[in-house]
Amino acid sequence: MKRIWGYIFIAILFFVLIWVWTLQLEASLNDSEFVSGGALFFVIFVLCMFNVRKRLPFLPLWPAHKWFLLHTVAGFLALFLFWLHAGVLWPKGLYVQILAVLFYGTTLSGILGLIMAKVYPNLLTRVDLECIYERIPRDLAEIRNKAEGLILECTEKTGSDTLAQHYVETLAWFFQRPRFTLNNVFGGQNAQTWVVQQCSVLERFLNEEERGYLDQIGALAETKRKIDFHYSLQSMLKKWLLVHVPLAAAVIAMVIWHLIVIQVFFN
């Protein structure tokens, strides 16, 4: 926590320096846009370096968590520098508006990503289960196989297909793939309620032995629900970048074009 305040302090100091500099330039009738624009370009460059750093994990280029802090603080700094550079919240002109839309989109998606990165890991640690995102399909398949094995065993041993029929009609849908994704993203309890409901509704129609199997299937469903929760949240932690990174790439493309135009027409 202390570390981030250090970054924030440096960012504020940097912004104030640039701001004062631009004010002085304005006072002396010079172009302050070149200073604010140059500072903004530098910060955008630093932001891009985070992605480069992630692609070069073998190089001793500072720990990733420091890069993340730097990226976060620099992102907010870029927003304030953008306002300083543009002079307005919403610029006029189609070309600059496209640039502004992309920049605001990148910033907003970054802020959402930051919120998720701060909130979701805490929620995931509360689940007494750990799983690797890439192995979730294998885990789900394993649970599904176990559940189907139990159903077969139950039918064979008890001679009753009540549980099997119920499984085919209801629980099979649940075990097929991750469910209640959106509800999990927002921290809902629909999955748990649904599993409990589906198990309890059948309980009175089962004998003692079948209930034993139902309990085991219930336990598997609970495990699967936890994996689903992991899947939902970890998916969000990965998929927000599908918005953030392309927008950032578009911003950089526009910034380069902007620089070319400035250099050509306002040199």
């Binding site: 070309y95 398949a141 790439a249 070319i260 027409f265 040199n267």
Partner: protein, 632 residues
């Protein structure tokens, strides 16, 4: 969950950096045992592989996928446990990269499209000029981007060159805009007096591409302080005091003594009814801006001063006292067609005992009070007038000036017959008896004089005579007493023709060739000697009201010797009717947290900004302007 499930022999090693993931896993089935490789290929469709153990063929698989297979191999050596073919899917990482690439490609296409679809090499639907739209004025007047941007439309080579070339866009601005001074110097004037000051550029203050309204940088005191020697915080704090006599630097064109009128004449019961009740009765508040001009003579002066002009005649010629009769009587009789009359031997006794008129004395270049000096030329003139009426007078007048049409201006309306008859009478040493009294103004002869009676305000003959008197008095290098006497009489407030100079000031000016010249200030004079200052009376009157707003700033100076200032021809030396306005008067309102104190509220940066001829002709070619002209 099994804690050991991620051991090396329990599960395959995950490679999230690979660009593919198992297609079967993506469909939430059990992923393939031999997942996709880096090139996207899968490990095969069989779970089990045949192997030979102690001379016997068996089927097996890795322990993590179940170990030995229960069945197989078959007669042809193949193992069972086959799986349908798997189609690997792209990982999120790859999808993200592709979307990012598409986003960049979209921007590149957009820019290329905008460049390609403009005939000038730029523009399109996200044109460069659309960085932010141009102001309304420049959108209409300029001929596209190239009007300001030299590099526009010159292609990639031109662009590359422009990056390494210093551009001064101000050079383009002044192809249309003009100033009364160097355009790249502060305030369009060399105010630095030898000091090193930086060159100014239009874009230092004026910003284009700021939307429809032209954006001008607000001039703050700090910005002015960067160049100005007198540095100050704001108008209320530190602004230099106004100079002495501010803002009454130049003498008025019209001699209107506010002091005597307000304190003396308007309070006189004789004039109370005609007197104005406030400043706005005389000054045109409705049209005020920098000046609050008074209304014309006919609106505000004529009630009291209307009759005075007609009372002040010009005496062109007067038959003065003569000592001898030197006129050729035969010639006179012939010229006047009068009965022959022989000269008698009686002593000549002049019919007049007056002095010669100053105007005729000047024209003949003789002293007006020396009969011996003037009688010969004057009697020659009388005879000449009797013979040729107006012509000898014209010749005399034109001989005094370089302007050969001066006589035409001065003698407008002079009836030759009247002049001839008066000359004939005077030649015979008789008074001229007019048929009736002259009442309506103009030229007339009466007894011993030829006079001009002004017909009213703006009388052209009276104006011309005053201007003639001033012109000849400055043309002549050796100012003779007769010239000065004639001039002083004509510009006398009491005796001068029409009494023009009672109200109109005469000021000395310097002509283009450096000569001094006296000129009558016939018209109200706007104060235009401070081109960098700006003051709007209208907005101040609007705030403070019509009645009392004038006296808040313009305080009458009872001690000022206003009229005495006009005795001299030097317009810069004078005493105003009003006390100088001081900064503290303005600071009453223009102060912190009250009314705006920006420099631009009172100061104009440029020196008489305007447009060049090219700009005006370009405007005439605009379709909307053409249409208006055609409609007219």
């Amino acid at each position: 969950m099994d804690e050991n499930k991620f051991d090396h022999d329990q599960s395959p090693y995950e490679r999230p950096n690979f660009p593919y993931l198992c297609g079967r896993g993506a469909l939430w089935r059990t992923p393939c045992n031999n997942g996709p490789k880096i090139d996207g290929s899968c490990g095969g469709t069989r779970d089990c592989e045949p192997f030979s153990k102690e001379g016997r063929w068996l089927c097996r698989r890795e322990k993590q996928f179940g170990g030995s297979c229960a069945e197989g191999p078959g007669p042809r050596g193949e193992c069972s446990w086959q799986r349908p073919p798997c189609a690997p899917r792209k990982t999120l990482r790859v999808i993200r990269g592709r979307i990012a690439f598409l986003a960049v490609a979209a921007i590149v296409v957009l820019v290329a499209f905008s460049q390609a679809f403009n005939p000038d090499g730029g523009g399109g639907f996200i044109s460069i000029s659309d960085a932010v739209p141009l102001s309304k004025a420049h959108k209409k007047f300029t001929e596209g981007c190239a009007s300001c941007h030299a590099v526009y439309g010159q292609g990639p080579a031109g662009w590359a060159k422009a990056v390494f070339t210093q551009l001064d866009i101000s050079e383009r601005c002044v192809t249309c805009h003009s100033f009364d001074g160097p355009d790249s110097m502060a305030h369009n004037e060399d105010l630095a007096k030898g000091r090193e000051v930086r060159k100014t550029q239009c874009i230092m203050c004026h910003r284009e591409h700021s939307g429809e309204r032209m954006s001008t940088r607000q001039s703050t005191s700090e910005q002015c302080n960067t160049c100005h020697k007198n540095k100050f915080e704001s108008f209320s704090q530190g602004h230099p005091e106004f100079p002495e006599r501010y803002p009454y630097f130049e003498r008025n064109a019209i001699k209107f003594d506010h002091g005597s009128h307000l304190k003396k004449h308007f309070e006189n019961p004789k004039f109370t009814e005609k007197a104005p009740t406030s400043c706005i009765d005389c000054h045109q508040v409705a049209l005020s801006d920098r000046e609050v001009r008074p209304q014309g003579y006919e609106a505000i002066c004529i009630d009291c001063h209307g009759s005075q002009i007609k009372k002040k005649d010009l005496v062109l010629i007067r038959l003065p006292e003569l000592m001898h009769d030197l006129i050729d009587r035969d010639a006179l009789v012939q010229a006047c067609n009068s009965p022959a009359e022989e000269k008698t031997d009686e002593e000549f006794l002049s019919v007049s005992t007056e002095m010669a008129a100053l105007v005729s004395a000047f024209l003949l270049n003789v002293p007006e009070d020396d009969p011996e000096a003037y009688e010969q030329p004057l009697q020659e003139l009388i005879l000449a007038m009797a013979e040729e009426s107006i012509l000898p007078l014209e010749d005399l007048i034109n001989s005094k000036t370089d302007n050969k049409s001066m006589a035409d201006k001065l003698l407008i309306g002079l009836n030759p017959e009247v002049l001839k008859r008066a000359a004939c009478s005077w030649g015979l040493n008789l008074e001229y008896a007019p048929p009736v009294e002259a009442k309506f103004g103009g030229w007339y002869a009466d007894m011993l004089e030829v006079r001009y009676k002004p017909m009213g305000h703006r009388d052209p003959v009276a104006k011309n005579w005053v201007e003639f008197a001033l012109a000849v008095s400055t043309i002549q290098d050796d100012e003779s007493p007769t010239t000065l006497a004639m001039r002083d009489q004509l510009i006398s407030a009491k005796e001068g023709v029409g009494g023009c100079v009672k109200c109109h000031a005469i000021s000395e000016t310097i002509t283009a060739d450096g000569k001094k010249k006296l000129a009558v200030e016939w018209h109200y004079k706007d104060v235009n000697d401070r081109p960098h200052s700006n003051y709007a009376h209208s907005s101040h009157i609007e705030i403070m009201g019509n009645k009392s707003s004038c006296s808040n700033c313009h305080i009458l100076d009872a001690k000022a010797e206003y009229m005495a200032s006009f005795k001299d021809f030097n317009a810069s030396k004078w005493s105003s009717n009003f006390v100088s306005i001081e900064r503290k008067t303005c600071v009453q309102c223009h102060t912190e947290s009250q009314i705006n104190q920006d420099c631009q509220s009172c100061h104009v940066y440029h020196l008489n900004p305007g447009f060049k001829r090219k700009m005006i002709s370009a405007k005439r070619q605009m379709p909307e302007v053409k249409k208006i002209k055609n409609d007219m």
